[in-house]
Symmetry: C2
């Protein structure tokens, strides 16, 4: 579906009077249109100019409500699409700023907040038919006593990760087999394979993966929205012999009832989706309608921590494991914080949970995520791990970075891509 | 919800080598962010530059597929939000161009197409679990014999309209009563009232309207998404004594299951939504799940005729009347064509159908819609009625039009609004 993606990001820096303190946030895009996201973020961040850092950091719920109260920009969604992606970039920078100011990694800032404080920053609007504010507080309160024990667990084990690096459609069979073996040798117990271009190819490639990883490890398959509902059911049933753990994005991300239908027809194969589910109202329905087995939140498609927290609460109440989407630019850096927080304070469980990891572009981040023995090592540096190296920003900034100036001769016209 | 709206539009003009032939399209916004929509449309229209007009006009389905195949821009939706609104502006201009070249009003261009041609331009992707291509062709074929008889009917009667001009929240009681009386005197049999700010006010205002219009006319109420689901049910039930025909946008436009729940609880009051339903997949679910009684398509939120046609086909198959959203900038001009086409070629029925009309901003259009005796008069001029007067464009173009230059002293900063 996204075959010519050109990994990009609209990157927001909130500067303060203190040269040592700034907030860094981003939203991930795949190329053209990144310039629009950057401009939207610039406009959306304007109400933050001149505000006291202490006030912003003390009440990220109020910041969220201020930025989402712009009804003129709301019209362009509402709460979806480009202006929601760019809003995530701005709010991710606000959260990074708050965590840096507190001298804590974001997950720790969150786990140090009380249930009431957390519910105050979560966006529960439109969710009260599924979870009330009181239920959310009670849910968090029940988990509160075990928080520090669970942190200690993760300090020992890390948070479980799976790899998508092996299973891209472009690899030939020999390379696929080799990458699977390397992943298993590195400790991974889950391998994800892209499917949907050709059923004959998918049968052959699933067989290769299943042979390579053995019967005990898990194979996930990912169709990136290519099918209509009846086709999804037929195709996934044809791959059932390879016992995939889940089918990811089998159809349009908007099709809640379609996912529910697919799930009922392909069970026990699970259904996973969420990287393109555009807001908490969509997740509410996916969860309550029993349309998904795995909830794949995204750090940039949802409106930062405030909206992701609402989805974590919904998922915990209804017992749906959250397995965040990552990869892209900086998504691994961000979602590790959300997964850790989910385990420590919201779900209290690692059962059936595993967070995506793609091993690329981490070199551009000052505090890159670290995956060891197929698990995310608990981030220790203050912030949301979103700060990029200044050299990376300077080189890849569109259109004036050295990368773009060098490439200009090869590119069709101005404005066709961005970074 | 949208209390400070500043009616705006991203306006697209496709020029050709023939100075007499151009295509005009727009998408409606309510202010800030319109500049982003305009820039997105500029980028999305680029593949049309240098193309032969005959080729574009001969195959608007191919144009649609070309413009929606940009997967980098697709990421920013997908198929929703800002890039979908701007895509509508571009495609509306393509359809206007095709109709002008054919020398026909758009509705006539469409009604002169065969069932197979129509299904070829409709976007049926992700819909096959609700309507197949073959079903769509058969549905249109069954209606084909009566097309010209129904055109003759509309030439006599026009297409029924309702007015929203009376019922804005800002009017005081005396003005509300007077505007209702004027609407009834002008022949309207449906009045729409905005609700949701205060229940006590809504009870009083509904009583005024019901008294003014009498028991035979229809009152519709519109909440503009302000409620959670339980609150919507409670509030609408409290207004049931005034027998509203429908409650419009009771909650988040994304909440398909919420609308279904509300509908089951407030019956026989109907549920209407769609002006913020962002694509055909949402409408598929609203229709198939029995979440709505009235389907309110929008000429700019959906991707022009291609996607609206798919929704008309779905609605016709499932027996849901289509009552388009209008108002804004140019929406009345556009949806009149879609309503006429729906009656003539798709649904074949006027039962329970009525199209919104708001009496403002028509003076900016070269071929403004004409409403007479509470009915849209069949548009006769070639095109999609989307062409604006050059003087209007020159005056209101952001930021260099005379209007903006004069207002600049009063406005907070550059880039905060757009036209």
């Amino acid at each position: 579906m996204h075959r010519d993606g050109d990994h990009s990001a609209a990157y927001v820096v909130l500067r303060t009077d203190d040269p040592e303190l700034s907030g860094h946030g981003l939203t991930f895009t795949i190329g053209r249109g990144n310039d629009l996201a950057a401009e939207a973020a610039r406009q959306q961040a304007r109400p933050l100019l001149g505000r006291r850092v202490d006030d912003l950091a003390a009440d990220p719920g109020a910041v969220y409500r201020t930025l989402t109260a712009d009804t003129q920009l709301r019209w362009l969604g509402p709460e979806k699409g480009l202006v929601h992606l760019s809003l995530a970039a701005v709010l991710n920078a606000v959260w990074d700023l708050a965590a840096r100011r507190a001298g804590k990694p974001l997950w720790r800032l969150l786990t140090d907040m009380s249930p009431t404080q957390l519910v105050d920053v979560a966006d529960l609007r439109y969710l009260s038919d599924a979870i009330t504010r009181q239920e959310a507080i009670e849910l968090l309160s029940r988990l509160a006593p075990g928080r520090y024990e669970r942190i200690a667990t993760l300090e020992r084990t890390g948070y479980p990760a799976y790899t998508t690096s092996a299973g891209w459609l472009g690899h030939d069979d020999a390379k696929l087999r080799r990458l699977c073996q390397e992943a298993i040798d590195a400790g991974y117990r889950h391998i994800k394979l892209k499917v949907g271009a050709s059923l004959a190819d998918d049968v052959r490639r699933c067989r290769i993966v299943r042979e390579a990883i053995g019967p005990q490890c898990d194979l996930m398959i990912d169709a990136n929205q290519v099918w209509d509902v009846p086709q999804a059911i037929e195709w996934v049933q044809a791959l059932a012999e390879f016992r995939p753990l889940w089918i990811e994005e089998p159809t349009s991300p908007d099709d809640i009832l379609g996912h529910a239908k697919i799930r009922s027809e392909v069970a026990p194969i699970g259904v996973a989706t969420g990287e393109h589910a555009h807001n908490r109202v969509m997740f509410k329905q996916l969860i309550v309608a029993g349309a998904i087995d795995y909830c794949q939140i995204d750090a940039c498609r949802l409106a930062s921590v405030n909206e992701n927290l609402a989805v974590l609460l919904l998922a915990a109440k209804y017992g749906v494991p959250v397995c965040p989407h990552a990869g892209g630019v900086g998504l691994c850096e961000m979602v590790q914080h959300l997964s850790v927080f989910d385990y420590v304070a919201v779900s209290g469980s690692l059962h059936n949970r595993v967070t995506e990891y793609v091993d690329h572009l981490h070199e551009h981040f000052v505090d890159p995520c670290v995956v060891r023995d197929a698990a995310y090592v608990l981030p220790a540096a203050p912030g949301y791990s979103t700060r990029m190296h200044e050299a990376s920003v300077a080189r890849y900034r569109y259109p004036d970075g050295a990368y773009w100036r060098a490439a200009a001769g090869d590119r069709p016209s101005p404005g066709t891509s961005a970074s």
